[in-house]
């Protein structure tokens, strides 16, 4: 059994920031991650992190607040949004002091650029490797502070007793042995659930919503699960992300007739929908950044050029980039209060898996990295302060029964996972209607009932990714159902949730 004060599950930006801050408050912190810390989804964030410095044009915290509220379509909590935006400058300055290599202006200020839905150039960036550089710097800080990070550990369940959270059951992926962690508080920082859309997602294959599913099983509340953000510009063939900064810098969206059809700097929900409308008319859609010039592209968007060259076989300096919108960020998640705590005592959540109600129905580019830092600090400090007023629980669940490894497998769950992704993209994607949602719900229910016919073919105890992927798949099915139930009950259109059969916002449904 491993004991600590604060157990953090997930080692992306949110987990690491929580860890650093909990450690600073004197807590013994242990982080577990199903990968390695530097491999998490945060490394894929490209565009930037918002803070109203006004380094590249007039800006104010109030403008940041208003832009965020507008994009959220009435679903955000204004107090939480204010907290986020008011703490943004301090958050970025902290990162700068830790050593993040932010791009700079000629007068040594942090460079800023405009992302969609922002009234000013507000996103601080490090070329188009912003997330990577932030994540790695945070990781280095954790090393310097000697914070324990245990790699390749998969969350099975969060343990709760009558006094609140008491730890977690974890599967050591390498050994195949279940481990029990006992802690005074637990922070879930496991990321979102966009991989339900399978090949129609920009996300890492690991973004499977494990933490959210475990939190639900432990009795935590979730909300806004139907709000899934589609990023307007992913590469057509591979769904690999091309940063919004390409549009922010003046990139155009063109249809097959070479016509522009939308203001590229609108929030993501509106741009994605405009692209989707064009595609349904039979158009191919392209991102055009040729006019920005080779020097600018190499300086500001080096990753985008590299990705387009390798994965789409075109050079954006000379060619149009074929794109399509795909699932990118999930606004819904574990409900937390203004201390980042869930309805379970001592259980905190932060990052994409949490719902602080700052993004509402549509997240602004540059606010997700910000969320990690601001709420990561809050969650870390509060989890460190949280002291179970009773002795640590000894009531652990016994070893959790995983799958039967030797059974005859009638249905290959990998095929089902792909089908689920296709159905979600088609019917639970950018535009939705009752019939489509109902169809997918029946499908999901059928898959759930077929689970006994699926299973794990690989019977090895050591590094059994077949088992892990099956456990992830089951979590995704659980979450898929919640998305559908949310989307069916929300009989209106709001932000990323667009119902063809109810194309207007319903004021009563906030």
């Amino acid at each position: 059994m491993i004991q600590c004060d604060v157990l953090i599950i997930g080692a992306g930006g949110a987990g690491l920031v929580s860890a650093i801050n909990a450690h600073k408050k004197g807590a013994k912190v242990v982080i577990v991650t199903k990968e390695y810390a530097t491999r998490s989804q945060t490394c894929m964030a490209q565009g930037g992190i918002n803070a109203a410095f006004g380094n590249a044009g007039d800006d104010s915290v109030e403008a940041h607040v208003q832009n965020t509220l507008k994009s959220a379509h009435g679903l955000a909590n204004e107090e939480a949004v204010r907290f986020l935006c008011e703490n943004a400058k301090e958050a970025v300055e902290w990162l700068d002091k830790l050593g993040v290599c932010f791009s700079r202006t000629k007068d040594a200020k942090i460079a800023q650029r405009t992302l969609g839905g922002a009234s000013a150039p507000r996103a601080c960036y490090a070329q188009d490797y912003t997330g990577l550089k932030i994540l790695h710097t945070l990781y280095d800080v954790c090393l310097g502070l000697d914070i324990e990070i245990l790699n390749e550990r998969y969350l099975l369940d969060v343990c709760v007793d009558a006094n609140g959270v008491s730890g977690a059951n974890i599967l050591n992926i390498r050994s195949g042995i279940q481990e029990q962690y006992q802690s005074k508080s637990v922070i879930i920082a496991t990321g979102g659930y966009s991989r339900i859309y399978d090949k129609f997602s920009t996300n890492s294959t690991s973004t499977t919503g494990d933490g959210i599913a475990s939190a639900i099983r432990a009795g935590a509340k979730v909300s806004d699960m139907e709000f899934v953000q589609f990023h307007p510009t992913a590469l057509k063939n591979t769904a690999i992300l091309i940063s919004e900064s390409a549009r922010g810098a003046g990139g155009h969206l063109l249809n097959s007739k070479n016509e522009r059809f939308v203001d590229e700097l609108l929030p993501r929900d509106e741009v994605a929908r405009a692209i989707n409308d064009e595609i349904s008319k039979g158009e191919d859609i392209f991102l055009d950044i040729r006019h920005l010039g080779e020097e600018f592209i190499d300086e500001e968007l080096p990753q985008e050029r590299k990705l387009a060259k390798f994965y789409e076989n075109i050079d954006p300096v000379y060619d149009l980039i074929p794109i399509k919108p795909v699932a990118h960020y999930t606004m819904g998640g574990i409900v937390v209060d203004k201390n980042s705590m869930t309805n379970i005592k001592g259980l905190f959540a932060v990052g994409e898996c949490a719902n602080h109600r700052v993004h509402g129905a549509n997240r602004l580019g540059g606010n997700s990295l910000l969320e990690l830092i601001v709420f990561g600090k809050q969650a870390g400090e509060n989890a460190a302060k949280y002291d179970r007023d009773v002795a640590l629980s000894q009531e652990y669940k016994k070893e959790i029964k995983l799958e039967s490894f030797h059974k005859k497998i009638e249905i290959n769950f990998y095929e089902i996972k792909e089908k689920l992704g296709n159905s979600f993209y088609k019917n639970v994607g950018i535009s939705r209607d009752k019939k489509g949602l109902q169809e997918v719900l029946s499908e999901v229910e059928e898959y759930i009932s077929q689970l006994p016919k699926m299973g794990v073919e690989d019977d090895s105890q050591t590094y059994n990714t077949n088992l892990i992927e099956f456990l992830e798949f089951k979590n995704m099915l659980e979450i898929a159902k919640l998305i559908l139930v949310g989307a069916m009950s929300r009989k209106e259109s709001r932000g990323a949730h667009f119902r063809v059969d109810f194309p207007y916002e319903d004021g009563g449904l906030k």
Partner: protein, 233 residues
């Protein structure tokens, strides 16, 4: 198309895929032919560093390598193989800690300029995939060598105007560090981010000499023999 994967033995797989990345091929094999095949992956877009492995003796990211007929796939070198193409990177990553590869916690208020930022821009592009670590021949003779990515990372911090702890960082590199590198450049050749750890190590050597350190092999050579290499007893 035939490919070969080093598992407990060398195993042949037949796949019908054209112009596919190695990662796509591995996923296809796992999901349709052999669920027991083990490999790590994440972002699919060459930025998370999970899927580094070796193809025909050279380190690549599986997600940014297009498969060819008869390719031979192996796990990274210099790390314990957990299973199939998965290696345990814990020891490798520990070298970052031994090398003190982080910014000094005594925070300074120095604001880097645009020029300052450019100095370590490329080093901070590192994705910790471990390709350089696997390609480094020094591990055959010194398993405690701090190694290419850790040393690149130290240079990234030492060269940063915000860091004010240069001396203790350089101190930490003298043993099993910069002088153990043979400057063979293998790390540079395999880096998916075009970083040259060899060049960074050379910069750290210069910085060390400026701080009064000398090349230990040169020092012992000087005291032990004459300049033409013949022993002088």
């Amino acid at each position: 198309m035939k490919i070969f994967i080093q598992r407990q033995t060398k195993v042949e797989y037949e796949v019908q895929m054209q112009n596919a990345t190695l990662l796509e091929v591995l996923q296809k094999i796992k999901t349709t032919q052999d669920a027991s095949l083990s490999f790590a992956s994440g972002c699919r877009s060459s930025v998370c560093g999970s899927c580094a492995m070796r193809v025909n003796g050279r380190e690549v990211l599986a997600c940014s390598y297009k498969i060819q007929e008869d390719d031979f796939i192996e796990p990274l070198k210099n790390s314990l193989v957990i299973r199939d193409l998965v290696v345990n990177m814990d020891k490798a990553y520990e070298f970052n800690k031994k090398a003190k590869a982080w910014q000094n916690p005594f925070l300074s208020d120095v604001k880097p300029t645009q020029e300052n930022e450019k100095i370590n821009e490329i080093q901070s592009d590192c994705i910790l995939c471990g390709s350089c670590y696997s390609a480094c021949p020094v591990y055959e003779v010194n398993p405690e060598f701090l190694g290419p990515f850790s040393l690149t990372k130290v240079w990234r911090y030492v060269s940063d105007v915000r860091d004010n702890d240069e001396v203790s960082k350089i101190d930490a590199l003298q043993k099993n560090g910069i002088w153990d590198c043979t400057l063979c450049n293998e790390c540079t050749l395999v880096c998916p981010q075009d970083i040259s750890s060899k060049a960074d190590i050379e910069k750290l050597r210069s910085k060390s000499m400026m701080l009064g350190y000398t090349d230990p092999s040169f020092a012992s050579f000087g005291s032990f023999g004459s300049f033409d290499g013949s022993p002088s007893f």
